[in-house]
């Protein structure tokens, strides 16, 4: 006998994991007509046990392994790991390496935000906004590839510095790209951010109140769109960020529209940071040589950095061996997931893609 659960005139459907509007995750959505009544996020479709796998890999082997959860922001997810590992191993990167790390991390932030922007466009049916940022993103991928060697997974940060120096002529190429991109950003604003229909779709949709955003543990651009100026690059400056002058774009509205603006402004700030980092960089070594088997000292270390999606946090426990004893990865997408049901309930079904992708939820990162 089949038991059919009936609750009024509700309709329950699975959005994902095979759905054009979801990533590798599922939202179990209950709708009452056009209004969403209940949302239960169901992550875990791409859970690979990254934390367990870290325990059987050396500190260096973990580097390519740990970028896999979020390949479009691979330097962002790796930065905090490298900082924590350096504390355990006991090496210090030279200043030039620290500036190069800033350049790579900010390039990755732009690449990740561009990807986000293009998907945000197509989620509202705006196909031009899908194609333009995807095309312009290639320019930044080219820049990053000229440093890191590959398109997305660079494995570029190592404990004690970076793998190799930046190529000659990078500065000219980067500045040319930035000049072009600043112009393009104005065009994006014209066609998308100031488009009356986009305003209608995003303004006042999925409003996150300041207190809710803090208490739910939301992080990154989503938190800054709700009026909390929290950015690890300013709060706890790591790796020479304290020598660089930049702003944290913060908006007070907390709706989907301001979340988009935060990311757009962040791309501008990132270019500002890279320009300064290139100027401040002095010639010198880019890594501290390490010999023999790398072992961490007994103890624990934790570090946080600001990745594209929010604060990335690592907690590494070492027992003095060549493998870390325990690696806890706390990723921003996982912490933002809790906001999904909070924001979606009570909104219309058509707002679901806007809110879902407005949070910049990356399922692979959240599942690890």
């Amino acid at each position: 006998m089949e038991v059919v659960e009936r609750q009024g005139d509700y309709l329950t459907m699975s959005v994902g994991p095979q759905h054009p509007g979801s990533g590798h995750m599922r939202l179990i959505v209950t709708v009452d007509g056009d209004i969403i009544v209940k949302v239960k996020p169901d992550p875990g479709y791409v859970h690979r046990g990254a934390e367990k796998m870290c325990e059987v890999r050396t500190y260096i082997q973990n580097i390519p392994h740990l970028e896999r959860p979020v390949i479009i922001d691979s330097c962002g997810i790796l930065f905090a790991y490298v900082l924590a590992a350096e504390e355990l191993i006991g090496v210090q990167p030279p200043p030039r390496a620290q500036y190069i790390r800033i350049i790579m991390a900010e390039l990755n932030r732009i690449i990740s935000h561009m990807y986000w922007l293009s998907i945000y466009g197509i989620f509202m049916g705006h196909s031009t906004m899908f194609m333009w940022p995807m095309g312009d993103r290639e320019l930044f991928i080219d820049l990053a590839a000229s440093i890191g060697g590959t398109r997305v997974t660079f494995s570029y940060f190592i404990p004690g510095g970076v793998r190799n120096d930046i190529p000659p002529g990078f500065k000219e190429k980067a500045l040319k790209t930035f000049d072009y991109f600043v112009k393009r950003l104005k065009e994006y604003e014209k066609i998308y951010f100031n488009n009356p229909l986009v305003l209608k779709r995003t303004q006042g949709v999925g409003v996150f109140k300041r207190e809710d955003a803090i208490s739910l543990g939301v992080t990154g651009p989503n938190l800054r769109a709700s009026g909390v100026a929290s950015d690890t690059r300013k709060d706890e400056p790591y790796s020479m960020y304290d020598t660089i002058d930049f702003d944290i774009p913060t908006y007070r509205e907390g709706d989907s529209y301001s979340r988009a603006w935060v990311r757009l402004e962040e791309m501008r700030e990132s270019m500002k940071i890279i320009r300064q980092a290139i100027d401040k960089m002095e010639a010198g070594p880019v890594k501290q040589p390490m010999r023999g088997q790398i072992k961490g000292k007994v103890g624990e270390a934790f570090a946080r950095t600001e990745a594209a999606r929010g604060t990335m946090f690592y907690h590494i426990v070492s027992d003095g061996g060549k493998f870390p004893y325990r690696v806890k990865i706390s990723v921003p997408s996982f912490r933002n997931l809790i906001a999904m049901s909070h924001l979606l309930e009570g909104n219309r079904l058509a707002d679901m893609p806007v809110i879902y992708w407005g949070l910049d939820y990356w399922p692979v990162e959240a599942d690890r």
């Binding site: 859970h47 059987v56 543990g217 604060t311 946090f313």
Partner: protein, 162 residues
Amino acid sequence: MSESNSVEKRILESLKSKFGESILEDGWEGALAPKRIKTFASREKIVEVAQAIKELGFDQVISQGGTDYPKDDIFKVNYHLIAVDNEELKPIILSLATKLPRNDPKMSTLTNVWRSAEFHEQETFENFGIFFEGHPRMERLLLPEDWDDIPPLRKEFTLPGR
């Protein structure tokens, strides 16, 4: 450094005056580092300590995870806390640890103190089998529904081929 160090010292001292020496796990030196505070609470007192920490201004759980120590026959559970809305405390990460016996891995949830601990505790539950009493949804999150092995992040769960 001395000026910023004093903030951390003041926080630790205010906690110590409330809960005594038990708040320090490895003595005064182990508990303090630049921008880092490490505190400890027994599982009976952890909600109380957490409440006090929250009143100091730490408003978000940035990470919560367990560590398995089969040699000592304990689980260690770490809550890492940050303050996003407090200028003075922003640079600091506070770690609140507790120890649970391996044969009775139970503690009361901190979701009533910090709502943001909810998914982290769910994840620790499925990865270590640590039960959080009073948690609104103590169920699987990331692991497959048909997982019938031991919790995977315990040390006796070995990866095949390693």
